[in-house]
Amino acid sequence: MRFLAAWNLLWFLPVGGAILALYILRLRRRRVEVPAVLLWTQVLQDFQANVPWQRLRKHWLLVLQLLAALLLVLAVAQPYTRAWMYSGEAHVLVLDGSASMLATDVSPSRFEQAKALAREYLQKMPPGDQAAIVLAGARPRVLCGLTVNRSELFRALKSARPAETGTNIAESLALAAAILTPFAAPTIEVFTDGGFAEPRDVDTGRARLQYHTVGSRAENAGIVAIDLREDQNAPGRFDLFAVIHHNSEREQRYTVELWRDNNLADAQEITVPPKSEAPVLFRQLIPTDHPEELRVRLDTRDALACDNTAYVVLHPVRPLKVLLVSKGNLFLETALSLDPRTSVEKRTSPPSAEESGRYDVVVYDNIEPASPPAGHAVLIGVIPQWLPVVPLQAVENSMVVDWHHTHPVMRYVDLASVRLSKATPVLPQAGTETLAEASEGAVMVSLQKPDKRWLLITFDVTTTDLPLRVAFPVMMLNALRWLTAPSESAERGLIPAGGLAVIPVPGEREKVTVRLPDGKTAEVSVQDGAAPFEDTLQTGFYRCPETGYLFAVNLAQREETELAVHSYTSQTGTGASAGLRKVLARREWWQWLAGILLAVLALEWMMYHRRW
């Protein structure tokens, strides 16, 4: 027998000594004068006649107490033996912890029912089998590693809580398969409502995959998309766009409310066709002088509550100051001046660091800056050496073949067949993002740092037909907006629940706190002027009190709002057929010692009170 914590055995010395001391103290008897001890002598004789070892009675108590102390110390030292044990299977229980599991179509909720099924599965699991529990959310999380300790598994199961996020089932299954890699015939048990596309391309290896489905058919409506954009016809005003989706087989009317800073601002009635969706638009919202919390609320009571409200932040609009460093570019000048809130200044030589600090954006048109810009910048036709890109060989008569459609700079921008008479493609390095590329390499690259953003256009725009297209002013307008609103997507509530939010932190702070929608706070470490925050498991507004930064997190997932219940068929793994196999395992004995300790204490108690 060995001990995991052998040094704990030393505790017997103080504990045993304390018992002896207490025992000696306890033997101080109270002195009582009686008329005569005649009758008491007879009582003592009867005692001695009944129990031959009566004289040892008090010693027995002492022995039992010392034995109890010894057992306690032994248990604390965690004795174990190595023994060949039969190991039948290893199981990973994947518990779907996504938003749809919060649905109350079954009592009390799908998630609680899934937990009950998982608990039942653990209870029926053969002894000797190991199990682990993985909570599948936006990111899978291991609640309990592989263990044979059932109470640990039950504790982990009890502590599991669902999040208002989507399900990344493929990643969860991959994690489960990775846990089970050493085993010959393991199983993955998924407890879910099946509200996701069946992950057919996930390789679970030897593991057998089995689904346990919970939930029933429930009507639900929710907001599956939300966006806030500046009205193109009314600069400085914003349109709020939301999409309402429902799974009802009947046409339904809903009231959609718009709340601004907890005040009802507007409401619209919309009709949603059967099993379909309908858009709703709140037009020309005027920003105030402070970041404003906008809530779009669907006035309905259904099985899932967390998708009935969507959140977005409306920031105040401020004028932009742009410095154009150029020897003359009419197209660029015109494009930058289209927005009446933008004031453009021009000069022909690169500004100093102090000068550039006075502008929101500096645009370098075929003029290379002397040093890396301290703020946001657009570099056109120049490729400075300090940029993390590798210039390739210059090409002529090339063409844009692809571009990043979903990037904010490329929104509403069509670069199809833009001809480049002269360009120097680059090979982007780490930290950059390609926005447009020719067949030879990237021609537009964005670079994002915590406190600044740069946009690199590797070709001279005047040597292309881009300025003649509608896409050019739109792209420049987008670029200015993206450059000056570094976390635009986050501010507009486009962070999906469970996604990563990057909180800009000016100054030299090492940590900041984030106030969650439920009022709790979390502490986040700051790295390079930004605090990456991953704990976006609730929908709603998150605020950083130190910096005043406000961002919104939304569910906005059709799969979750759909509340679909799918029963997927089990998949047989490639492992050997399930059977018992012997493994050399560590068997801990502290539970047995604890049981014996309890029995000894009970015996001691009885002896003390019954006076055997």
Partner: protein
């Protein structure tokens, strides 16, 4: 000698109530003077006892002439003699009797005084003995109501004794008290040789009434836990760990003591009474003793 109580042993009103009572002595006992109790002697009362043949010199007034007419022989009618009784009050004055509230000793002395007063009212001869440290301090027999004061004075100042040594005291009583009579022994029997003592007294053919005087602390001890018991008489100690089961064993031992004492007294025609000192004296004397046939 120290007074056992600052107040008189018995209240005047209680003494008055006692005057109506009499001692119930079952067996005939010889007395000295004419009295109210049946004597083994033949005498001149109204109660017929027996016939015997006439012998010269007999009083002709007691010849049964009707028998002479039928049988032609002279027979003399005999009548029961009624005499006084020698009453002896023995009180155990050991240290163990000084327990309880009131103390067992005070209670015993009050009971003894009550019995003595009843006996004096009925013109019996009353003697007393205080048992202390194996000796008996005597009070010579007295008669008549006027002797109550000396009796109360004697009983009111018991010796400050330590131990009992009941058997030795009983031997002294047997040797020192020559009159066969009614003996009232008031003790707690906290002596290893109490049976020898009782046998010694009963062997003298006294009518023995044992009044077993115990305090509530002895009848229902309120003790629990690990204790060191100290004997008040000998200073002897006993380590005990008392629990419910130990107390039940004590009760069993106490009951055994009472049963043995009662059986021994009953076997020799004596009487046994348990006196719980927690009850009022009046209740014990006027109710308990009458119910148990000691008084009438």
């Amino acid at each position: 000698m120290t007074p056992v109580s600052e107040n008189p042993l018995l209240e005047a009103s209680f003494l008055q109530r006692l005057q109506r009572l009499q001692l119930l002595v079952r067996r005939p006992l010889p007395g000295q003077w004419k009295g109210e109790h049946r004597s083994p002697k033949r005498g001149y009362s109204v109660e017929f006892a027996d016939f015997r043949e006439y012998s010269p010199g007999d009083d002709l007034r007691y010849v049964d002439w009707k028998a002479y007419g039928r049988l032609d022989r002279l027979y003399l009618k005999q009548y029961v003699e009624e005499e006084d009784v020698y009453v002896l009050l023995l009180v155990d004055c050991s240290r163990s009797m000084r327990f309880g509230q009131p103390t067992k000793l005070l209670f015993a002395l009050q009971v003894a005084a009550a019995i003595g007063h009843i006996a004096l009212c009925r013109f019996h001869r009353v003697g007393a003995g205080l048992i202390a440290d194996g000796k008996v301090i005597w009070m010579r027999p007295v008669r008549g109501k006027q002797s109550l004061i000396p009796l109360l004075r004697f009983l009111g100042s018991p010796p400050d004794a330590r131990s009992t040594v009941l058997a030795e005291s009983a031997r002294q009583v047997a040797n020192g008290w020559k009159h066969r009579g009614a003996v009232y022994l008031l003790t707690d029997l906290m002596d290893e040789h109490w049976q020898d003592a009782l046998r010694t007294l009963l062997a003298r053919r006294h009518e023995l009434t044992l009044i077993h005087t115990l305090s509530p602390q002895e009848l229902r001890p309120d003790l629990m836990g690990d204790l060191l018991l100290v004997d008040s008489e000998t200073g002897e100690t006993r380590e005990v760990s008392l629990s419910a089961s130990a107390l039940s064993l004590y009760q069993r031992a106490l009951q055994q003591l009472r049963d043995d004492a009662s059986a021994l007294c009953g076997h020799f025609g004596g009487n046994y009474l348990l006196a719980d000192t927690s009850q009022p004296l009046e209740t014990f004397v006027l109710r308990e003793m009458r119910m148990r046939g000691v008084l009438a």
